[in-house]
């Protein structure tokens, strides 16, 4: 199995099968990422297609990249934002591009009630964040990106990326469980073990 970088190099040489492999491995990821900004499948489909057609068209001008995923996310985000900006112009809305995180529904390592409570906490905290803060949280945890990678995708400096994430984390503090409750829960859990 060829890795992404090999596929990327082959794609740049014009090998269509490698291009298809890249498309196959990233289609779902990009679609999922895009879905956080926009719930209209059609827009997302168009964006992915536009991205890949552009890539093929400009393949000789593309550089080799240390991270294919990073490159594609960044490029996809740019294409999608342009599409969303067009939509906004038509509808006259001048809003920040939204970003919605959908938390996991079931996570069975802890009790269902506790899970529900923690989930609600986190959801509330995320709701209070700005869309860009949510996006950072998503890229950091879900996409497992480094600060540098997040900075590249979001077109920010690493410093402001760090700041944005720090403020996001800070805002989470406000939504933590009361200390006593945590102790109590912990004791209960230890006893039940």
């Amino acid at each position: 199995m060829k890795d992404d970088l090999e596929l990327w190099e082959e794609f740049r040489l014009g090998i269509e099968s490698s291009f298809k492999s890249l498309f196959d491995s990233y289609y779902q990821q990009l679609f999922n990422y895009g879905h956080k900004f926009c719930v209209e499948d059609e827009v997302l489909e168009d964006s992915v297609q536009e991205l890949f057609i552009k890539l093929w068209k400009n393949r000789e001008r593309l550089n080799s990249t240390p991270s294919v995923k990073n490159y594609l996310f960044k490029a996809f985000r740019r294409v999608l934002f342009r599409k969303l900006a067009e939509q906004h112009r038509f509808s006259g809305i001048k809003a920040e591009f939204p970003f919605e995180i959908e938390l996991a529904h079931d996570y069975t390592m802890i009790s269902e009630e506790r899970m529900r409570s923690l989930r609600a906490q986190l959801a509330r905290a995320l709701e209070k964040m700005s869309p860009r803060q949510r996006e950072i949280i998503h890229l950091k945890f879900f996409e497992d990106m480094s600060y540098e990678e997040i900075a590249r995708v979001m077109n920010l400096s690493p410093k402001s990326t760090y700041k944005l994430l720090y403020r996001a984390i800070d805002s989470l503090k406000e939504h933590m469980s009361p200390f006593n409750l945590l102790i109590l829960l912990s004791l209960l859990k230890n006893m039940s073990n």
Binding site: F31, V48, L103, A104, L118, I169
Partner: protein, 341 residues
């Protein structure tokens, strides 16, 4: 720095949530089984609920449901259907780019040559002929010039103005000046002027030969009329009629003679030397002037011998052959010198 459980003594939920090592442990699966976090939990039991909640949050984020699209194949087919069109256009663009690049280079060369040409036309231009060579060319006004060996003609290309056409000659040249004046209305710009040997020759449309060698200027008019002026005083020295020759060695020595056979004057152009009772000295001077050799005559009495006839003079050997035959001498070329003995 070595990671120790002590570092995590005062960690709260948010600190674990934010800790890279903790995140990666949770991401890898079950942090409960990670020996390091077990140690942290055993040494500082109060961190255990924090770890648990932080892990839950992290898991909630990591395990977000993936939004599924069933359109992947359809999407790919749409992309794939576009690829041939893109390829075609890419090729066209590539060809176009190569073409424009080449065209650009060609254009640059053309523009450069045009501007150089312009520049050369604006400024002075010199045409010349080396030793043993001749140069025939046409001036911008379509006057024709035959330049003899070891000669040069300089001119200024601003003849479009109302100034007369002017040239400066060194050596020998046969001029065939184009008559540009409208009948009976001669303007300054209709004159053609040759600067040579301290005089200015002014003509309209004529044929004439000018020879400026060894401080002696010889002008022979073949057709039309020609006026000779002193270059510094602008005084008219002579006015020639066709068939007349004018010799000038400074203001003190002016001579006008008749030359009946114009072919004697233009012979050099046809690679001939016409000798009409000419001295050997004149022939030797011609060799020196036109071929650039120094001629040493061991028997100086030969200088006063006179020769008649036509010598083919396409190259030096032709002339030397004739000299050997007529004077019964030997010739020897050593480097830049011809010895006649």
């Amino acid at each position: 720095m070595k990671r120790t459980p002590e570092q995590y003594r005062d960690y709260k939920k948010i600190d674990f949530f934010y800790d890279e090592y903790f995140i990666s442990s949770v991401r890898e699966g079950n942090y409960h089984l990670n020996i390091f976090w077990i140690q942290v939990g055993e040494q500082f039991p109060e961190t255990k609920p924090y770890m648990e909640e932080a892990a839950a949050w992290i898991m909630l984020l990591i395990s977000q449901p993936v939004y599924q699209s069933k359109g992947r194949e359809a999407s790919w087919q749409k992309i794939q259907s576009q690829l041939p069109r893109i390829e075609r256009r890419r090729n066209i663009v590539r060809i176009f780019k190569t073409y424009t690049k080449r065209a650009g280079q060609a254009a640059a060369v053309i523009i450069l040559s045009l501007s150089l040409y312009d520049l050369s036309q604006q400024g002075q231009k010199t045409r010349s002929a080396g030793f043993g060579q001749k140069n025939h060319f046409v001036l911008p006004d379509e006057s024709e010039i035959d330049l003899n060996s070891n000669s040069s003609l300089r001119y200024v290309r601003n003849w479009k103005s109302d100034k007369p056409r002017e040239v400066w000659l060194k050596g020998e040249a046969l001029f065939h000046v184009k008559h540009v004046a409208i009948k009976n209305r001669i303007r300054e710009s209709d004159y053609f002027r040759v600067h040579a040997g301290g005089v200015v020759l002014t003509v309209t449309g004529t044929r004439f030969n000018v020879k400026d060698r060894r401080g002696v200027l010889e002008v022979a008019l073949l057709e039309g009329s020609l006026r000779v002026e002193d270059e510094s005083t602008h005084q008219v020295i002579a006015s020639l009629k066709p068939g007349q020759s004018f010799t000038y060695k400074g203001a003190a020595e002016i001579q006008i003679s008749e030359e009946n056979d114009s072919r004697n004057i233009t012979a050099w152009k046809d690679n001939e030397i016409r000798l009409n009772n000419s001295s050997v000295a004149a022939v030797i001077a011609g060799i020196e002037d036109n071929f650039g050799y120094k001629v040493v005559l061991l028997d100086s009495s030969l200088l006063n011998r006179h020769l008649s006839g036509t010598i083919p003079a396409k190259n030096l050997e032709d002339i030397l052959f004739v000299l050997r035959q007529t004077l019964h001498v030997e010739t020897q070329i050593t480097g830049n010198q011809i010895t006649i003995k």
